[in-house]
Symmetry: C2
Subunit: 372 residues, 2 copies
């Protein structure tokens, strides 16, 4: 196994909210302030040499503005985006800055407002007038049902699990909402057949922050870091029309997970906990297959088994989906699960994983982490 090079030493979410009048900066600072408090004075003015901000906001110079607001004087500042997998891209970018030696410590921040121009990919005319994400998700669901016999109940079970998990996570958008039963999901309004309203994650506002540091530096922050072990990212195209035929056979998510397993030198059976991109219930079922947790076509059945911990923070369905924040919040959760900070874990976990998608799964990220 390769030497550990990049450690995650802190991670915090803000509360995820429906909508407020706050600026993107106010939202971003909420998770950063939690992280600074958590590190209890260990983060000095010159102690951070990179700030990577993940957001689909239209604001300019955002990472530099955040550095000023936080009183930091970093080397690198930049904002990056890639729609819904902006956050996992930012974690990967931070990894590259540290391994390359350009930075010793990178603060990765994600923040989004509910009103964001990332909601709909207007460029993609292959979607015709079906331009909202639910349209491609409902086609994937119908295809999966037809090809593999996946049922609406199996998809609904994903929602029940994730919403239940979110009831244990005080930062989740749905934390204060009623639990949902299988009957509730099945009887909720159909938005685009077969997908029902309770099977859709909601775009919301929220921020997350993760501190990543070099092997040399981690002891300044913690004795129990979580290491980045494997990284995969793949972009096949940008438009739905170019991905739909291959989506169950050779999706970007399959390729990204292959890369990540290879780099971590492990296989799917080694994963004990995962945060996967469940913007719609069917996507979690597809994720089981893409990650190799189960054979192609058996994702629906896997949803009834709960063999490993999937989406313990509530996934996007329970937590909410602030676009540029999501991949970072997923990382916060796996960091917490592996270090057992939140006591939400079921048993000792060796390897954890995040899986994140953008734009009908045309691009995907997979990141594997471990405490060892």
């Amino acid at each position: 196994m390769k030497e550990n090079q990049v450690a995650i030493v802190a991670g915090c979410d803000s509360q995820f909210r429906k909508n407020t009048e706050r600026s993107i900066f106010d939202i971003a600072l909420e998770s950063c302030i939690s992280l600074f408090k958590d590190k209890n004075g260990k983060i000095s003015k010159d102690g951070i040499d990179g700030i990577i901000f993940s957001s689909c906001t239209d604001e300019q110079y955002t990472a530099a503005i955040l550095s000023e607001m936080l009183g930091l004087k970093p080397k690198i500042t930049l904002r990056l985006d890639n729609l819904c997998n902006s956050g996992s891209n930012a974690i990967i970018s931070a990894y590259s800055y540290i391994v390359s030696g350009l930075c010793e410590s990178v603060l990765v921040i994600g923040a989004e407002k509910t009103q964001t121009s990332g909601k709909r990919l207007v460029w993609d005319i292959t979607r015709g007038s079906f331009s909202y994400p639910i349209h491609w998700a409902s086609l994937y669901a119908k295809m999966h049902m037809r090809k593999f016999g996946t049922t609406e109940e199996q998809m609904a079970k994903v929602v029940v699990k994730n919403r239940n998990n979110a009831k244990k996570n005080k930062n989740a958008l749905t934390y204060n909402e009623d639990s949902v039963s299988l009957k509730d999901v099945m009887e909720s309004k159909k938005i685009s057949d077969p997908i029902k309203i309770l099977e859709c994650s909601r775009i919301c506002e929220g921020s997350s922050a993760v501190l990543m540091v070099s092997k040399k530096k981690y002891r300044e922050f913690t004795d129990n870091p979580i290491w980045v072990k494997g990284i995969g990212h793949m972009t096949s195209c940008a438009s739905f029309g170019n991905i739909v035929d291959d989506i169950f056979l050779s999706s970007p998510a399959k390729k990204a997970s292959d890369q990540a397993y290879k780099m971590a030198d492990i296989g799917p059976n080694d994963i004990q906990v995962a945060e996967v991109h469940d913007a719609f219930s069917i996507l979690e079922i597809m994720a089981y297959e893409d990650l190799g947790l189960v054979k192609n076509g058996f994702g629906g059945k896997y949803a009834e088994q709960n063999l490993i911990t999937i989406n313990p923070r509530g996934g996007l369905l329970g937590m909410g989906h602030p676009l540029g924040t999501t991949g970072i919040s997923q990382t916060v959760e796996i960091y917490s699960q592996l270090s057992d900070r939140h006591k939400r874990k079921k048993n000792s976990k060796k390897f954890g994983l995040i899986h994140n998608l953008a734009a009908a799964g045309t691009s995907a990220s997979v990141i594997i982490m471990s405490a060892e």
Copy 2:
């Protein structure tokens, strides 16, 4: 000296234009197509594993869209921005992906439309009602004149040099415009005392593309790569009010150049050609000092000497300034100068450098390159 790790093997600019109706993608593709032609079939569908797009555009999923348009299937896709130094940030990010081992080859693309929300940093209320860049530039010019005796003629000479250089560069915005004399500059309209209209670069549209690859891979593309030898980037803050007092003493540009020289293991005397950020004439004079080409306060005199080649493509003053493109276009020029592709060089050059700023110089990048 450290081992060479990242090679630049191709670089092309589009024509820089005042304004057209083209989309950001059309603009971006212009330089990419030139680069693909230049490499003459050597770039295969699977031969690029990263696309980093630098732009202040409001469009979403831009890097993935460009990958589809170019028929590429990269691993990494992301858009990044940091106002005027977005482009140099993108080059640095590509370097980090390659050195970290996550990518073997990264296509860095910058593109901007003339109408961009990056024109004015509305967030910065320390600028009061003086919210356009010329306001801080005129204050810097007045301060430099008062403290160091720099003259309006010295600043005007920067413009004459750079506009003359742009007359040799067919992609420059001012290529087809009349040459300007010292008298022309001195007698042009004062916009914000002492800065005259000919001393201001113009925001324009244009794109640039650079192909960066690992040591292992460069021979697939060229026998004469240009190596990235030193990198510096520094962010002190984001607002004018927080930088103005220190701007001549300990600017981010000074710190970035210190980092870059240290990493390259050379000093200012080793630099034979540089592209520096001359959004306004005074900034080139400040750059001479920040890069250590001359002592503090002597930048005005240095402008009369032309000891080394500065801004051979015409700088921002002659070339135009499409925000997210600029740092990449600067890199294209130094790549070309060091490999003598454009025959615009004066003599054999060993080390070249780019210097790029954002938002009143609150952040700065310096990148050093060499053929050896």
